[in-house]
């Protein structure tokens, strides 16, 4: 049984198929990369998994349980945490309390506030935000806010983590740090699905990659297979043609 499995997942906005008949799965302990050109439906797929949107038609199951009809907060409590492409933090709340939200509400069982504080502090330590834990979240830099989102997601003790362009807009040094973080998260036993535009990052870190284009899955495989796949090359670089024509 796969940890997460989607069957014929679709989502239409009016006449536009944002995601069309996509089958996908991810296994325990994997890092699954999700790539594709802009507008390919990657974020929509994340929204479908985390129940921001409901697939129609289609079915998504997590640990064998059909999670399609469940609301977002229940999905988080079942163990699927996510970050957002455009950061969504609580700007007027201190950094530590931002992360405590995940610890207090995201695990699906009652924990005391001192436990939650401890958990939040651990998560902040992991993303190196301990020095600014009392600052207001809105005062952080964009890179820090992205790490804050990651900490909030981690504080909810997820089994599956959805990372939506964690590395976009980061400097080269920050990217390599973020890659290190993701590997460490996986080594703790958390399964990761990540959307990323930075090819070098996603190719080096993913165990498996799914490529979307215009809402359809056009390729799936190891990074080596994907790099050699003519369909993927076509989507990214354009069709091969003679210089004369």
């Amino acid at each position: 049984m796969h940890l997460l499995e989607g069957e014929k997942v679709s989502k239409h906005f009016g006449g536009l198929a944002a995601v069309a008949d996509v089958d996908f799965y991810v296994d325990q302990g994997e890092i699954l990369g999700l790539i594709g050109p802009n507008g390919a439906g990657k974020t929509t797929l994340f929204n479908l998994i985390s129940a921001s949107l409901k697939p129609k038609p289609g079915k998504i199951s997590f640990k064998g349980i059909d999670i399609t009809p469940k609301p977002a907060y229940k999905i988080c409590r079942m163990g699927i945490a996510r970050t957002f492409q455009t950061v969504k933090i609580f700007p007027h709340v201190p950094v530590l309390r931002n992360v405590m939200v995940g610890a207090l509400f995201g695990t699906g069982r009652f924990i005391t506030s001192s436990e939650a504080t401890k958990k939040a502090e651990e998560a902040l330590e992991f993303v190196d935000l301990t020095p600014v834990k009392n600052a207001l979240a809105g005062d952080l830099t964009l890179a820090q806010q992205k790490r804050l989102e990651l900490a909030r997601a981690l504080a909810s003790s997820p089994e599956l983590l959805l990372l939506d362009e964690l590395m976009a807009g980061l400097t080269a040094v920050e990217v390599s740090e973020a890659m290190g973080d993701v590997k460490q998260i996986r080594d703790k036993g958390v399964t990761v699905i990540m959307i990323e535009h930075l090819m070098q990052a996603i190719m080096s870190i993913s165990d498996r990659i799914v490529v979307l284009d215009y809402g359809k899955k056009i390729a799936e495989g190891t990074p080596q297979e994907i790099a050699a796949n003519p369909k993927v090359i076509e989507v990214y670089l354009g069709e091969e043609c003679d210089a004369d024509s």
């Binding site: 985390s50 921001s52 609301p71 977002a72 907060y73 988080c76 409590r77 945490a81 996510r82 957002f84 969504k88 933090i89 609580f90 700007p91 007027h92 709340v93 201190p94 530590l96 309390r97 931002n98 405590m100 939200v101 995940g102 207090l104 509400f105 995201g106 695990t107 699906g108 506030s113 939650a116 009392n134 989102e149 909030r152 997601a153 909810s156």
Partner: protein, 336 residues
């Protein structure tokens, strides 16, 4: 700076103990006031201040962090009026107050369940309509079923009403302070700041909003039940007066919504000001009051509290500047 913030996050800090002690002293003085000065003028005034403080604080509990502007205050307050009119006498006053709070909770939960999916101005308009609706429903029910227009209320003495109001006031402050510091307060605040992220962090958004909205209505209903016993006669127009919805909003804005002192300051300041103006300028009252409001909204975006804080920061800045000049070198070394 770092020091003060770490104190705030500690469970039971010195500043919190001090503020609790100040609160306790204030309440003891207020509780003894009818014994010390039985002259009922101040007792009546203070009842009035507390009534509006309760409404403003209860309103801020929900609408402050979420930014959902509720105008349903008069509905729950008026409900308390009718509970008192029907039940006070047959039942003891205390029971009536508790039942009013309970009834307000249930009605608010029902209204919240229906409307809290609406956002922004739609929610605001709907809550406004709820007051009008209740007004009409009660009017028609009384006309058709009981063949009356208004009701007589079994009165309580000035002092009993005052003490009851004081207890509800203390209860309101206690509960609201607790909620704001608790995980539910954090949940509500995160909903207000970024609803989507709150949902994906495991917060049951609808339940949190409905529960806290309903809790805020408890105090409104209780205040209504108490105030009703100071009148001999009520009718739907009196009970469901829209002023009761608008005034707490204005008071909270006037005082500032960042903490609980703001709404109380706003309620007291507002009530005192309007009393003063009514007496001194009975004809120009509304005009002057309106000018005051406009000036307040234009120049005090964070209310009285905002102005006070700004002033305090300015004073502190001057003091620390003066102190920092001779020891600048040492100061830098310490902070590095």
């Amino acid at each position: 700076m770092n020091n003060t913030t770490s104190i705030q996050t500690a469970g039971f800090s010195r500043s919190r103990i001090i503020s609790l002690a100040i609160l306790a002293v204030i309440f003891i003085v207020l509780a003894l006031l009818p014994v010390l000065m039985p002259a009922s003028y101040w007792i009546t005034r203070l009842s009035e201040y507390m009534r509006y403080s309760i409404l403003a604080i209860a309103w801020v509990l929900f609408s402050g962090p979420t930014g959902y502007m509720s105008l349903a205050t008069a509905a729950f307050y008026g409900l308390g009026f009718y509970m008192a009119a029907i039940l006070n006498g047959p039942l003891p006053f205390v029971v009536v107050i508790v039942l009013s709070g309970f009834a307000a909770f249930l009605v608010a939960a029902a209204i919240g369940g229906l409307t809290l999916r609406l956002r922004g101005v739609y929610f605001c308009i709907f809550t406004f309509a709820v007051v009008l609706l209740l007004n009409q429903v009660v009017l028609e029910v009384e006309r058709i079923v009981t063949h009356t227009r208004g009701r007589f209320v079994n009165q309580e003495s000035v002092h009993v009403a005052y003490w009851a109001m004081l207890i509800v006031f203390a209860l309101t402050i206690g509960v609201v302070m607790y909620i704001r510091r608790s995980r539910y307060g954090l949940a509500l605040q995160s909903i207000g700041e970024m609803e989507e992220a709150a949902a994906h962090s495991g917060i049951n958004i609808v339940r949190t909003k409905v529960l806290i909205f309903a809790t805020s209505a408890v105090f409104m209903g209780m205040a209504g039940a108490i105030m009703a016993t100071r009148r001999s006669y009520i009718d739907p127009g009196i009970a469901f007066d829209m002023q009761t919805s608008f005034l707490p909003v204005l008071m909270a804005m006037f005082g500032g919504m960042g903490n609980l002192v703001g709404p109380v300051l706003g309620a007291v300041g507002f009530t005192a000001l309007s009393d003063k103006l009514v007496v001194s300028f009975p004809d120009l009252f509304m005009l002057i009051f309106g000018v005051f409001l406009i000036v307040a909204i234009l120049f005090m975006p964070n209310g009285i509290i905002g102005v006070v804080m700004q002033f305090w920061r300015w004073v502190r800045g001057r003091i620390s500047k003066r102190a920092a000049v001779p020891t600048e070198k040492g100061g830098r070394g310490a902070s590095a």
